[in-house]
Structures are given as C-alpha cells and as structure tokens.
Symmetry: C2
Subunit: 457 residues, 2 copies
C-alpha cells in the first residue's frame, strides 16, 4: 500500500515536472515567434555586413557586428577569441565561354572558381573538355586522353537520399577533384555544383589540393543548368573548347576573431554550455542560411533567457565562430582556449544547416546516452521535432576531441542545397517563422540541458 | 521455456515483418524522389490549365486533364462523378484608392473582392473607413458610427501558433464579416488578408452572407502590407475616404465533375481506400499548393503501385474532388454515390495543406484507435514524419459523416499562408523534393492501410 502511494506521488511529481517543462518550452517558442530579434538581426547581418569570407573587410565588420548584437541580447560578458585565418580572394569575375571564331557569338556558362584554387594564367586557359562521371572513369581515361585538357566532373547530386546532406557528403569529393585531374596532366577542372536544384547559380565552396600532386591547376564549379548544357554541347561536338579565366589568389593569413557572449550561471557557473554557428560566409550571396541563421539563433538564446527571466544554472555561451568555411581556425582556437580554462564544457550545440523549419535535434551519442535525451521527446512532439541519434558541427568538432558531447539543430534539408554557397543565399530566401522555430528549438533543448544536465554514466 | 521460444519466434517474425515494411516504404520514397511525375504533372496543371475556379472553362479543362493524368498513371478505371457547382466570377480588376481631389495622385491598395461577394454599384462606393480589430469592437461602435461607412477588419494573424492552420482558424471568421457590418449599416467591408506574410498580395477565399441579415454588401480583402498602410493613414486622418469598385457576379450553377481513378484490389476489391485532393482552385494564381499538390500526389499513388508492382489487396481510388473552395459539391456528390455503391469505404486520406515537406500523418481518431496506427511510427521515423491525432479534409468530410475513418497529410505549415488564395500560389513556389516527399508519405501510409487494414474494435 505504501509503495502504491509512493508511486502515485512519484507519478504526480513527474507529471507536474513534465507539465512545468511543457509550459516553459511553450513560453520559449512564444518568445521566438512573437518577440525575438532573429529576423531583424539576420536582415542587418545580411544587408549591413553582407558576404564575409575570412580575412575580408566584411569579416572584420561582422566581428564588430556580433559583439554589439551579443551586448544588445543581454550577455554579461562579451569577448573575442583570436585566430589567424586564411585570406583567399576571388578577384575579377570569372569567365567561361565556348571558344570560337566570332567574338560576338560566344556561349558562356555560369561558373565560379572554388575557394582555395589557384588562378589561370593571365591570358586564361583554352582547351578541350573531357567529361567524366566519376574518378574511376577519369583513371580509366588516363594521361593519354586527359593531358592538356580540361576535366569536367559531371557528377549528379543523388536525389534518392531523403536527407540532402547525405547526397552532399557523397558528391563533395569532386569539389577537390583538381589534383586527381592534374595527376593525368589536366590544365583545369570544372565540377558540377553540389545542388538539389536545376538553376543557373554556381556553388562555391572550399577545395583542397592533394599534397602528393605537385601541379596545382585552377578548379571551377559550374551551375547545374550549365552542366546540363555543356553535356549537350559535348555530345554534339567532342572537340569543343572552353576558355576559362580567373585571377583569384591566396594572400597572407590575417588576424581575426570568434565572438563569445555569455550569461553566467547562477549555480555552477564553471559548467559551460555552448550554442553557436559560424560568423564567416562565402563571398557570394549574403551567408543568410549559411550561417547567418545559426548566428542570430544562437544570439537569441541569450536574449530569451534574459527576457523570460530564466535563471540558468550553468553558464550559457553563444559563440560566433570565425572561419568555418575554409579552415575551422575559429573552432580550433576556441577549443584551445577552452582547454586552458579552469572550467568544464558540458555540451556544445551547433546550428549550421540553414534557417529552415526544425525537424530534429541531433545527438552524437550511443544508445544509452541517447535514451537519456529521448525522455524529452514528448516535450518536442507538439513542435514536430524529433530527438535523434547523430549530430554535431564543424566548429564544435574541435571541442568534441576533448570529450564534450555535441548536438545539432537539424532543420528540413530539402531546400538547403538550392542556396548553399551561391549568390542566392540571401536574406529574402529565409522565412521568418522557420528561422524563429529553429531558434526556439535549440533554445528549448539548451534550457533542458541547463536544468537537468547532460547524461552521466 | 516453450513460451520463451515462442516469444523469440514471435519477436523474429515481428522484426522480419517490420523490416519488410521498412524496405517497401524505402522503395516508395525512392520512387517518388527519383521517378515520379508529380512535379511535371503539377507544372502541366498550373501552366496548361492554370487557375480553375468551379464553373469556369479552366475547371472544365482541369476535369479533362485529371482524366488523362489518371489513365496515364495506370488506373484500371477512370470515371466522372457529376455535381452542379456555383459559378461566381470576379469580373474586372477591382479598384481601391484613397478618394481625393487630384486624379493623378490617388494612393491605391492591393485588394481583391472575396468569393461569393456581391458587386459594388457601377460607379463604385466612396465612403469613410471605420477600422475595427474585432467583432466586439464593431458591436460597441454600433449603427451610429458604422452606418454609411466602410468597415475595415484589421485583425492580425496570430503568429504565436506553431501550426499556422490554427491562426487561420481563429481569423477566418472575419472573411465573412460583411453581414455583421451590414447589420449596422455599413456599405462595404474590407478584411485584412489571412496571412503569415507582410507582402502585398491580397488573399481571396470564400465569404458567406448571414441569411438573417437582409442587406448584402460587397466584401473585400486587402493585402497585409496594404492593411498596415491603411492603418497608418487612418491614424493621420480619421475622415479618410476610400473608393471601392468590383463588378463580380454570381451566375447560374454549372454542371461539373469530380474525377476518380482506381486500381482494383486483388483480394477484397469491394473495400475502398480513397486518397484525394481538390481539383478546383481560386481564380488568382495557379492553385499550385492549393491544391494542385494534393491532386498530383494522389495520382502518383496510383502510379507508384503500378510501377513498383505492388499488388494492392483493396481497391485504391484517387479522387480529384471538384468545388472544395466554394461549395464542397464534389465531396457531397461523391459521398452520395459511395452510399449507393455495394462497397465499403475503409479509409479516406486528403492532401490539401500544400506541397511542403511532410511533418505528420493526421488521424481523426480516439486514443485506442490511434495506438493501432502509432505502431507504424518507427517506419516513419527515418523520414521525420509523426503519426498524430487529429486530421481530415473538407472533401472527405462528407464520407466521414457515413463513418469512414479520415486521415490527412500534414506538411510543414510555416509558408502555406504566404501563398494561400493569392496570385502568388504558382508552380514556381513549390519545391520539387518537398512535393515528392509529401506524395511518398501518403503513399506509404496508404500502402500500410491496404496491407494491414484499418483499426477494428
């Protein structure tokens, strides 16, 4: 009998607790949907600062912008974590057209040179184009067919994946296909953009040269539409020649910063919860989804704790990491700083998959650990958000090496690679409510971690 | 010991069964993401047919279009279910501008007359504008303030709801606010559009006159941006006059049809599973999300059963219902036909919430029944789709009255009311993969209902 009463008491207690959490989370969602500054902040970051590739003047401006936004959000302390970043510049608008006799009749393609590439010679490159659909095919053709030509990696984005990140993961190696092409004597490479769409925006992104291949050749990306057209032209004329030009270059590294804003914990301030995204973006577009969204969402977590009067137990740190796109120097220098602090990072959550409707919180954990967080699933059911296995982020990846549990916001991925790394990744392509729901979701999860802590064995 | 062995056997059996279903569902998703005709069909419906309000020539064309699409999808039998539909026409482009002395300097607003409204007199209506924020406020003002004036319902769309359909449900009564305004002597009503956005598209939709109020006055909708501007102007000048014009009219009812395409069941063909959407649309835009999406998704369910070689036990019927928007005549005549058939409808599923990423299958059922379907949740986890309580549709609502269980596809609702009933509900605003994932989700659920049947007490 006594046990039964105890069980009823316990059940009531658990119900009350769950109910209290439900209400708190509903308040957090309401804050974001009706009061938050996410959308106006994103507008400001996109329009007042704009594209902000590491090492650029705009990246410098973005650091100042983030500092001010974090102060405005109510952070107790705002500070910078220095790092040296690469400084690659695109230079003049690239050129890519079909070589022909009549200057008035040159068909051109929407291309961009990939981040980290070397330039063409000043007069450009004119050569025949060899189309391949895989590295295997390239190897089979070998030096005999490739030498002196441009390699065109026409590799399609696999639409069969439900989560487009998986298709990206499968295709992205071709973005660094220049060295493999150079091994067989190619003079340049062109890679079909990594995209779900069929439009005419070329997608930039970082490319790396294989240190084992001495020759560095320029590496371009062509729009999906352009790739289709080039394929057609090549099927009509195997001797088709393209003219390519870029004067991009790599300058000396520049000093830069990640920006940290924190609200000190009221009970165990030496326990740190990080929520962040990356402040740098590619030089095309405005870095709206990638990753202006993650930045403004992280800043609004601070703002909501202040505005809703939540007394966080642990210290909440919003971190705007520098240089995710081409170096992760911000992530590395932050982790190095964290290693020297006499504090403990208990969790790190990254939002870097766009400002779309949240579908899940991803957790990088094994089954036992996952079950601990899965208990919170009913709290997220009203928002159609799953708590799922697998998650993390590039910037917080450096903290993970030191054993910090990592989490990520997983928004709907269907449209991300329509915009990713293009001139079309602009403020206008972010929906206010989707952005806000993403912020509310990470905010709610951070709230629960702060209240109940992370999994302990 | 024997029970233990039996349990292991049972567990293995259940696991194998679950695994087989997982694979079947993965095949269904693959079909839709890589082979389906949903997107090209939607393009054709939007561009070759276009807007298709009941009674119009385009609605007639849409019937022919649906017939052909269902034959092409591999339906065994395609037939029409007749119904008489209302025939309201918008007429000339509406006018709404600030009345003033100088004809060259008239500020105008983006408005549209609401479906079912009466026209203004030929010379239009010029009157002062009384802004109210609720029916309560209107009643308090009473005939003294309202008589002879235009009532402007400036009721905001409540952004606090996570599911935008709830905000719509709360605000939509103001679309039929004309009679309430007429009761106090108003000469016209203008309602702020039911929308999540702040853009300049007015949203049409059906309005109804209260039969208890004799006077019918013209009912308009103004864009969200226009409502904000009008509010500002009224705060500056309480005597501001607007000029309104519409020559819309209601013509006699027209004969029309719902279109049915079915694949006969292989085991119990007299058990019917309906999957459908509505073929008619508003006259603005192209009816892309509302409800071209539901039509092409339903048709592709047939196509996938054929292409994947699924031997359905029950008869699967795709139904393109006519006249959801302003009469539900198609839903009613279909239900009347069904009542006379010597067959049993075991389930009806409607897709009429846009071609956005699926978030849930909604089930109109009590707890016991829900638990039966909830067993399928793990099959939908990989697609981030919830099985949830609450669901249905306007067209299938008529079948429900005869006891048929109803289900609905619930796509992400965040952007639906940006486009709903506007000139911007066009093909270009539907994302291919989102549309296809919606089709795959209903297809998978229909597959499971066909295989396992619906809940039986």
């Amino acid at each position: 009998m006594r046990i039964a009463i105890l069980l009823i008491f316990l059940a009531n207690f658990l119900f009350a607790q769950k109910n209290e959490d439900s209400l708190s989370i509903r308040k957090i969602y309401s804050y974001h949907l009706t009061e938050s500054a996410s959308y106006v902040n994103l507008h400001s970051l996109c329009k007042d600062v704009g594209a902000r590739l590491s090492g650029s003047k705009q990246a410098e401006k973005a650091v100042e912008w983030a500092k001010q936004a974090m102060v405005k959000a109510g952070a107790d302390t705002v500070y910078l974590v220095p790092c040296m970043v690469p400084h690659w510049v695109r230079g003049k608008k690239e050129q890519c057209y079909v070589n022909g006799n009549s200057k008035n009749n040159l068909e051109s393609f929407a291309i961009c040179v990939l981040g980290g590439s070397v330039a063409t010679p000043t007069q450009g490159i004119t050569a025949k184009v060899i189309e391949v659909f895989s590295f295997d095919e390239l190897e089979k053709l070998g030096a005999e067919k490739i030498k002196g030509n441009i390699v065109f990696y026409n590799v399609s984005f696999d639409q069969n994946f439900v989560h487009t990140g998986s298709a990206y993961g499968k295709a992205v190696k071709y973005r660094s296909g220049a060295s493999m092409a150079a091994k067989y004597g190619a003079v340049a490479s062109i890679t079909k953009s990594m995209t779900t769409s069929n439009n005419d925006f070329p997608h930039t992104g970082t490319m790396k040269y294989d240190t084992l291949v001495q020759q560095k050749i320029p590496a371009f990306a062509i729009s999906a539409k352009g790739a289709k057209r080039l394929n057609t032209l090549l099927s009509q004329n195997k001797n088709l020649e393209l003219h390519l030009f870029s004067d991009c270059k790599t300058l000396p590294d520049e000093p830069s910063y990640s920006v940290v804003g924190e609200i000190r914990g009221n009970e165990t301030p030496n326990e740190i919860i990080v929520v962040g995204g990356h402040l740098d973006s590619w030089d095309l577009g405005e870095g709206a989804h990638d990753d202006g969204a993650g930045i403004v969402q992280s800043i609004e977590v601070l703002s909501s704790f202040k505005k809703l009067g939540v007394k966080n137990k642990r210290t909440i740190r919003a971190v705007a990491f520098m240089n995710e796109e081409n170096g992760t120097r911000g992530g590395k220098s932050y982790a190095a700083m964290a290693a020297k602090e006499n504090k403990k990072h208990i969790a790190a959550l990254e939002s870097d998959m766009g400002g779309f409707t949240p579908k899940a919180i991803g957790i990088d954990a094994k089954k036992d650990t996952l079950l601990y967080y899965k208990k919170w699933q009913p709290l997220f059911d009203p928002y159609f958000v799953f708590i799922k296995q697998g998650g993390g982020g590039v910037d917080i990846g450096e903290l993970v090496k030191a054993g910090v549990p990592q989490f990520s916001l997983e928004p709907d991925s269907q449209r991300y690679f329509d915009f990713h790394h293009t001139a079309d990744d602009i403020f206008e392509n972010v929906n206010k409510r989707e952005l806000e729901l993403g912020a509310a979701t990470i905010n709610s999860f951070i709230y629960l971690i702060d209240k109940y802590g992370t999994y302990k064995k």
